[in-house]
């Protein structure tokens, strides 16, 4: 799969990588962390998460660290950190551009 496709992340992809930034987690741990982090706004289905984790692992963004009681634990790699950071910067610029445009509209 071409890396180009992962240069821009969907919201669910973004939060999965965010969840793996601090510590290794298994699938359900990621689902719970994302739901808690977003106050229930973003809920990732088990099937969707499984497919995305497989894709991230194939692309080298995350790595399997452990398997315990049938649960796989992942942590993101250097490449995953880079992709996450790029997405965060992109979103920050997007918010800043939006703030400029909306402030100008307020005072116009």
């Amino acid at each position: 799969m071409a890396r180009k496709k992962l240069e821009t992340l969907t919201e669910q992809m973004y939060y999965i990588l965010l969840s793996l930034a601090g510590e290794p987690r298994h699938g359900y741990g990621i689902m719970q962390d994302v739901s808690q982090r977003t106050g229930g706004r973003v809920n990732i289905g088990a099937g969707t998460l499984y497919a995305l984790l497989a894709r991230f692992e194939e692309e080298g963004l995350i790595a399997l660290t452990d398997t315990r009681e049938g649960r796989k634990y992942y942590l993101f790699t250097g490449e995953g950190r880079r992709i996450l950071r790029d997405e965060y910067d992109r979103l920050r610029r997007q918010v800043a551009d939006g703030a400029d445009a909306l402030e100008k509209e307020e005072f116009s």
């Binding site: 669910q12 699938g27 689902m31 289905g45 088990a46 998460l49 499984y50």
Partner: protein, 417 residues
């Protein structure tokens, strides 16, 4: 109040959302799915649960879901119930209100394309390639063998129950297949648009899904009937090839060893092997059963002192067909046909109604001339003086005699006698 109930579970794979919605409506009414038998008959039992919900997801029949995937689904609150066709059925665990298993429309659409659509399209292409290949000989044979399509169809209808059903159902199968491909294309276009718009995949109405489900049921019923008719065809009409069945059994044996780790496919192959074994038994019992039931047209020698060989007999609901050869055995050649002085091939066809008989027999070919003094009797001559024949129609029965060689008696007189 009833504790169990039975319902028909009949949805196209592409309408799995409608099937899911139906299961959830049943759950709201207090019914919990126990099992779906033969992919069609769903058994429910009463439940006190108010938090029961279902999710249906695409499945690849060749592979069982991995244990870590099932563990993840279980952690999330979904327990697997059953796999039906290309669908995995999950039920929510008591005390949980889990998020749907699939929450990304684009991913779901792509998974459908990878797991189900390619196989469906392949099946459709095979059907539309194999069907013409089957029909091609029927189209080419008439011109090469001076046989009309009418005669071919009549031959099939009078000699094989399975072929009769196939001839009858083929236009409906082709029309249904084309309609299904059109439906598939329409649904996929709507899904693609939903993905582009960032919406959830649309759910077809229960009415539409139900109508297509009924058509699917009709198609599956006709296919099941066709397979079932193979048994009487093997038992009575000798219409099934022993070598083909043995070949298929060998294929099953190989598949059993390949799919030993996949319980779903293993069971399916085992069931197929069982049916083939039953078919094999019917083929082996054909001779004694046929001798016990001579049918509408029991063959008998036309000429005296002849030996009958290559005898075939068939009876269907619409007609019957028999064929045999008679030859004069030479004492020094035993049963060998080589070098015998003359032979007669007799073929007879009869129908249950005069309408069918009129259609099947049609008008005699142009190379036949009416025999004077004998109504409904025609004669034809071959390339040599020793080769010729007769065609007789009596009521709903048509008899064709082809002779070769120097016969001791006129086969027509012997046949009329």
């Amino acid at each position: 109040m009833k504790e169990t109930c039975w319902k028909l579970f009949c949805y196209l794979v592409i309408d799995h959302r409608a099937a899911q919605a139906w299961l959830n409506r049943m759950a709201e009414d207090g019914w919990e799915l126990v099992h779906i038998y033969f992919g069609l008959f769903a058994r429910f039992r009463r439940t006190e649960r108010t938090d029961l919900s279902y999710f249906l997801d695409w499945a690849d029949p060749k592979y069982l879901e991995t244990s870590d995937y099932l563990q993840l689904c279980s952690d999330a609150g979904w327990e697997p119930v059953q796999t039906v066709d290309y669908l995995n059925l999950y039920a929510s665990r008591p005390g949980t209100s889990p998020a749907p298993i699939q929450t990304d429309s684009e991913l779901e659409y792509r998974r459908f394309r990878q797991k189900a659509l390619r196989r469906m399209a392949l099946g459709g292409v095979i059907a539309f390639v194999v069907t013409p290949l089957i029909l091609l000989p029927l189209l080419l044979l008439p011109s090469s063998a001076n046989v009309s399509p009418q005669e071919i169809a009549a031959g099939l209808l009078s000699s094989s129950l399975t072929s009769s059903l196939i001839l009858f159902c083929l236009p409906f199968w082709l029309a249904g297949g084309l309609a299904y491909l059109a439906l598939l294309a329409g649904r996929l276009l709507r899904w693609r648009q939903a993905v582009k718009d960032g919406r959830q995949l649309p759910v077809p109405t229960s009415r539409t899904a139900g109508a297509w489900g009924n058509l699917k049921l009709l198609g599956e019923f006709s296919l099941s009937l066709m397979l079932l008719l193979l048994l009487p065809d093997a038992l009575l009409n000798g219409a099934i090839s022993l070598s083909n069945v043995i070949g298929l059994l060998i294929g099953c044996a190989i598949s059993i060893s390949l799919y030993r780790d996949n319980s779903r496919l293993f069971r399916r192959v085992l069931c197929t092997a069982g049916c083939l074994a039953l078919l094999l038994l019917c083929i082996l019992l054909h001779s004694p059963v046929r001798n016990a039931f001579p049918g509408r047209l029991p063959p008998s020698p036309v000429l005296a002192d002849t030996r009958v060989i290559n005898e075939t007999r068939a009876d269907t609901l619409l007609g019957s067909h028999v064929k045999w050869e008679e030859f004069f055995p030479r004492p020094d050649m035993g049963d060998s046909k080589i070098g015998y002085p003359a032979s007669v091939t007799v073929e007879a066809q009869t129908w249950v109604s005069p309408v069918l008989a009129d259609w099947a027999f049609g008008t005699p070919p142009s190379n036949m001339v009416a025999v004077p003094g004998r109504g409904d009797t025609w004669q034809f001559t071959g390339n040599t003086a020793e080769h010729g024949g007769y065609r007789l129609r009596r009521g709903n029965t048509l008899l064709t005699l082809s002779y070769y060689g120097d016969l001791p008696a006129d086969p027509l007189s012997a046949a009329l006698a």
